[in-house]
Symmetry: C2
Subunit: 267 residues, 2 copies
C-alpha cells in the first residue's frame, strides 16, 4: 500500500491549507471543499466522487469501507494524510471530529450544465441564507428522488462545511446549480417545467394542486420569503395550512412538505 | 412613563447576568431564559407571556408595538433596560442583534401539567440534540395547530437561545413537556392517544395510515433514530418514501412531513 503522510503540529502548512477551506474565500480561490465522515465519503464514492485528499485520524478504529476508500484514493493518484484527532478537529471545526475527512474539487454549478430530463421534481431556493437549511434541502431532495437543488440569487455556499454536513452526503448525489433569477427564468422557459411557489397569494390548497413534471418547487428567503414578482412568475401558487400564530414555516420544512406532496402526485 | 435604566460597559453585572443566560447551567440556576426580536416578543405577549426584563438597544427605530410592550412590562412590575447595540449583541450572541431582547421565566415542563385534550396532534421527539431542530419542530407544531412538543430522554434545551430563535415565537404558543420514556409511556396510556413513529420496520405507507386523534407523532435522535423498543411500543409505524441513497430525513423535516399528513387526515 502506498505511503500515508503523517502530519503533526497545528502550524503545518497542510493543516493550515485544509483549515482554510472552512472559509468561503479560500474555497473559491482553490475550487476545493471539505467533507467528513466515513458514511458520507462512502456515499460520495458510490456516486462517483473520489476525494483529492483523504485525511484520517490516528488511533481511529479500522474499517473495511475506509480501506476500500483509501485504496481508491491512492489508485486515483490522490493523497492520504494521517493526523492526530485534535488536528482533524481544527480542520473540521468540530470538538468531536469524525475519524476521517476529505478534500474534493467543487463541481460545475452552472445552470447551462443542468439536464432537467432525468427527474420529476427539482427543488429551487431563493436567497437561502442558512447553510443548514441548504444542506437539509439537498438531503430532502435525495429522499424524494429530486434531480437537484437550484440556488437562486445570493444563497449560502453549498460547499460550506455546514451545508455538506447537513446534506448527509446528498451534496454528492443531487445536482446543484447556482444562478440569478434573470438567468433562471429564461432557462426554465426554454424547456418543459412547472414552477411552483409556496404562497399566500391567490394560491390553491397544496394537497389539491395540479402538480406536473418536471415540477420546480420554489421556496424563498428565511426572513423575507419570495419577492412578489417571483411568485407571480410561477405557474402555480400553493398554500399550506397555517393554524397557529405564525404565517410561515422554516424554509427547508416548507420545501420538504411540498416535495413529499408533489412526489405523491407525480410518482 | 417609568424610568428606563441605561447600562454602559461590558463589565456591568446586569450585562454579565443576561449574557450568562446563553448557558444552560445559568438558565437552570435562575429559571430564566432569553428571547429576542420585536415580532417574537409581540407573539409572546399575545400568548400571555410578558418578560421580567425588557432590554432595548439605544438608537433603535421607534415602533408602536414596542411602546405597547414596554408599557405592559412596566405595568406588570418588570424592568426595562437600555443599552448600546454592541452590548445587546454580546448578550444574544448575534453580530447583528435585533433591537430588543427580553428575559422570561421558564415554564413548567412537567408532563403532569400537560392537558392533551385541546389538540388533535402532538409532536414528540426523542433525544433530539440539535436546538435548531427543536425550535423548528415547535414552529411546525404551531403551524399545524399541534398542542405542543414533548421531549423524551436527553434532548436539547428548549429554552436555549438557538431553540427559541428557530421556534420563531412558537416556544410561547406551543406547550412543552420534558420526560423520560419510562414516564412518558404510562402517561400516554393513562388517556386517549395514538403513538405514531416514522419507521422502516413493519410500517405502513404514511399517506394511507389510519391516523387517529389525539395523535402523538414520534421522531428519534438525529444520528441513531428511535430505539427499537420505542418503535415497537407505538400503535402505528409509518414509512415515508426514500428514493435516494439516504435512509432517513432530517428529524425536524420528518416530523413536519408527518405532521402535515396527519393534519390532512384529522382536520
Amino acid at each position: 500500500m502506498p505511503t500515508r503522510r503523517l502530519i503533526t503540529g497545528f502550524s503545518n502548512p497542510t493543516v493550515k491549507a485544509l483549515r482554510a477551506l472552512r472559509e468561503k474565500k479560500h474555497r473559491k480561490a482553490s475550487g476545493k471543499f471539505l467533507a467528513e465522515g466515513l458514511r458520507l465519503l462512502t456515499d460520495a464514492r458510490a456516486s462517483g466522487h473520489l476525494p483529492e485528499v483523504l485525511v484520517m485520524a490516528t488511533g481511529r478504529d479500522p474499517h473495511p469501507l475506509l480501506d476500500v476508500l483509501e485504496a481508491d484514493v491512492h489508485a486515483a493518484g490522490g493523497e492520504v494524510l494521517e493526523l492526530a484527532p485534535d488536528l482533524l478537529g481544527k480542520i473540521t471545526g468540530k470538538d468531536n471530529p469524525q475519524a476521517v475527512a476529505a478534500v474534493f474539487a467543487e463541481f460545475d454549478t452552472s445552470l447551462a450544465a443542468l439536464d432537467r430530463s432525468p427527474a420529476k421534481i427539482w427543488l429551487v431556493a431563493q436567497a437561502l441564507r442558512d447553510p443548514g437549511n441548504l444542506g437539509t434541502m439537498l438531503r430532502t431532495g435525495d429522499a424524494v428522488g429530486a434531480g437537484g437543488l437550484i440556488l437562486i440569487d445570493d444563497c449560502a455556499d453549498p460547499f460550506s462545511v455546514e451545508a455538506v454536513r447537513a446534506s448527509m452526503g446528498a451534496v454528492f448525489t443531487q445536482k446543484i446549480a447556482q444562478a440569478r433569477w434573470e438567468e433562471f427564468l429564461p432557462w426554465l422557459r426554454s424547456g418543459p417545467g412547472q414552477l411552483v411557489a409556496a404562497s399566500l397569494r391567490d394560491a390553491v390548497d397544496y394537497r389539491a394542486a395540479p402538480y406536473a413534471a418536471p415540477c420546480f418547487l420554489l421556496v424563498g428567503n428565511e426572513s423575507r420569503g419570495l419577492p412578489e414578482e417571483y411568485e407571480l412568475a410561477c405557474d402555480l401558487r400553493v398554500t399550506l395550512p397555517m393554524k397557529g400564530r405564525a404565517d410561515s414555516l422554516n424554509a427547508a420544512v416548507a420545501g420538504a412538505v411540498l416535495a413529499y406532496e408533489a412526489l405523491a402526485h407525480l410518482d
